[in-house]
Subunit: 289 residues, 4 copies
């Protein structure tokens, strides 16, 4: 976490059992401290009786700093059994990108980051190939080559984990990283390990989704951005999109068209995550997009 | 307005100058009366310093009825200079549909209404042609034929207005009604007179938009649902959508493809209006879709 | 098959092994008989080495009638091992619609048919429920109620088949017909039995796709129009589309939103079929849309 | 024009007055020389009585080389009054990119080019700013800074033209180049000067389209890829697309969302152009996508 300077705003994300008075309590708390709302999103899951809330609070009129806010909010959070998080806009998430051979998702993320469009720090990129080193280093970002040999994947992922920790990575993005992440790493980064799957899940789970889509003769192909869990391709979905194909598309055409969907879905999903717009509960997400 | 029975919920819509404490005041008010939130949407227009809010409140636990709610809410509304509206779910909007020769938008609305998908009453349909009478009457809805002769449009629209009033119409929907609405009628139904324009406004304002789109060689055509004002095709936009076309589409193909967009855009726009999801301010809308 | 009068055009659809000279031979054949092309679509499947072609030929300048065309074309078709079909625009396909309780797809098809937007005859509608009788009969179309009791489905489908035959039905459309079609009927109408499945196949095969989509937390839901084969939900796909959903959508909202996609996908798929734009080979389709 | 080696295929593009026998003549010509069709697209404009055709012909079985093909085809072209063009797949278009301050379109094109996804040569990039030099040069492409001072734009564009000519540029792409192209340059590159306009033309012609879209309250914003003519923003449209926005989007949000549409529309339009899929006639295009 990097604290650049005084924040413009704070983002307060809450989820808790639904109950009359929770909005009143939170908004009363904010109003008493001069907190004006830049953006506010609510969701009540009537089936699960669960409440979700995201508030962006202007720092300008706020009478308390982050520490005081947290201290004073804690009793209220306890009363309503809230899970909650407060992030000052000045604290940028540290995002480690992992990639393999394909460059499109990585290139897209790096360009957005460089042009100030993605508010995060990228302390390093890790790849099991060497081919993207020059692109990454041109952006001024350290590149780590960690090969993943079939006979010793455990050692490779131990090295990956050490690198992420050394760089104090908070979120890991798999930008078409083509190795299966071991359960230990999944567990260590629950809700902070983001993948782009090159199909419209749950269609075409597993390897070679474009070949499967081609063989099935579907008329749309898609991509899915999701949090990674131990259950391969079954984690909570953050974002999806599709693109039209037809009989004239070869499998290679699908791969090419799919790349555009993959990178736009991944960048949208990552943005939602970075702006604390995603709340995971069970295997589903609330996304205040 | 029809009151069927006890409502399931109330929809409270508010807009007012933005100010610290407004959410706290409203949510406190609701919590004190046992009002649990089924859905809640907020929007702060930072440029205009204006605040918009829509709350759907479960009637189940509410300790007050509609009248008491309104009486008690009034002082708070005054304090914050609110424009506000409270609608019990049992009070269905009375919607008069106006159509001309084309049947697709009317047919779509009638089917949605009949299958319980659009929560409104349709006291009558008015047309300047006779050809849709049978379809309307089959749905059990009165049909009024009001021709609009070139030489005496004023009398025709006076008759239209009488019919709407006699049926206690609250909202008027122009479902491809091909006559220009006179200013007096526009003024009488500000924010309650809905049109579907067969182009992606502001492109191709005025007559024959499909011909214009064909001549310009655009690659997408669209439709726009908007509130009618005296400034033709310039009223606040509620909803828009587009569909892809190409060089192989004749003007007639565009007309045919456009019909599907028109009816889906109109039905979505009408639904937003009926569910009090649309708030107009100036020439723009907030739509809590 | 109904022949109203002299056709405006003929549609010639061909598929055969790909070979140099096939286009030359067909276009030479047409040119020699004064056939000017209104529309022409080609596709070469390089992987399968198979060629597909659809020509719409103006009848105006054509020097031969349908019978002579067919007789003279036969030797050429044999030479190139073509599967082929010639349809005069005056010969409208006879389409039997089957429905259950849900009205949206049926209502949409009937309205398009009635307004001249779908060029086919609808000799009758068959349903296992009574609730849609009035809607069908208002359109002037015979309605047959064929209940499908659990204990004797075979007799019910024998009755269905008799009705279709008696009405000389050529194509059967399952407009949200909620019974599984027995293999015998599938075999009898290969490539002429069209279903709309309420999911984006191959996701959520089988019953209750919206519940499954809700449980999985997908961000788009869809519908699939496909030819029915004995392998449930596995037949050749004609058309698909999707619509965006999010966490605020209940399962019922998904059902409602899905209806719009279902009816638009079905009507597009049916149109492609009626205009002889679909060619099935194996389990895939070429759709010259 | 660069000729790398022997081509895999030839692309033959034809347009001419429509007439019985044109397809027969062309396909006969190809068949006699062993030309098998990889892809073939036809379009008859019935209103204009004009015919368009694009054939991709495998070079493998072809008995003639490019020169012989052209020589032998010329009489046939004359007979049917064809405009035509033959391009071997080995001849890559030389594309000069022009940009200003914004990097997203340029970055996208350069990445696609570098990864082999766009089949063209990029001999240089020209900009009126310096900020993109490093990005361009990292790709190994010469960067020319040509400032455009208000007081002497003519000299600047004379310099631009010299640079393009020196690099033997055939097509010029304005990748968010923010200066108006003088008529002389437009005339010199008719059908070879491509622009991306940041609105859904013909909406919001001219400067600041996002501000205009914001002020009008539209629910979709878009981008348009078109050939540049002397009539600003009025040239033949190649490709368009849109993205959904709503009341919560500030003008800056629209700019950010619009960037994604701009770059995807430009890259699609450019691809169509490079693959000779676009035929301009009058102010409209046929795009065999």
């Amino acid at each position: 976490m990097t604290t650049d300077n005084r924040p413009d705003s704070y983002t307060l994300v809450i989820s808790c059992p639904d109950r009359v008075g929770v909005v009143a309590a939170v908004s009363q708390f904010l109003a008493e401290r001069g907190g004006s709302l830049v953006e506010s999103n609510h969701h009540t899951d009537l089936e699960q009786n669960w409440f979700y809330m995201r508030n962006v609070i202007s720092a300008a009129g706020l009478s308390v700093n982050e520490e005081a806010f947290s201290d004073e909010f804690a009793p209220l959070a306890t009363e309503f059994a809230m899970e909650w998080q407060l992030r000052p806009s000045s604290r940028r998430e540290r995002v480690v990108i992992m990639a393999s051979h394909a460059s499109h998702c990585l290139s897209d993320i790096l360009h957005r980051w460089q042009s100030g469009d993605l508010a995060c720090d990228i302390p390093c990129v890790i790849s099991n190939h060497e081919n993207l080193r020059s692109m990454v280093e041109w952006h001024g970002i350290p590149f780590h080559h960690v090969p993943v040999p079939k006979e010793d994947k455990a050692a490779a992922f131990a090295e990956v984990e050490r690198i992420v920790e050394r760089h104090r990575g908070e979120t890991i993005v798999l930008a078409r990283y083509m190795q299966i992440i071991p359960p230990a790493l999944c567990e260590g980064y629950v809700g902070r390990l983001i993948n782009i799957h090159h199909s419209f899940l749950p269609s075409f789970i597993g390897a070679n989704p474009y070949q499967k889509a081609y063989d099935r003769g579907v008329k749309l192909i898609g991509a899915t951005c999701h949090y990674v869990t131990e259950d391969l391709d079954e984690g909570p979905i953050i974002e999806q999109d599709v693109i039209r194909v037809n009989h004239s598309c070869s499998k290679d055409d699908m791969v090419r068209l799919g790349r555009d969907v993959e990178q736009s879905v991944l960048s949208r999903g990552l943005r939602y995550h970075l702006e604390d717009r995603v709340i995971v509960r069970g295997n589903k997400t609330v996304v205040f997009s």
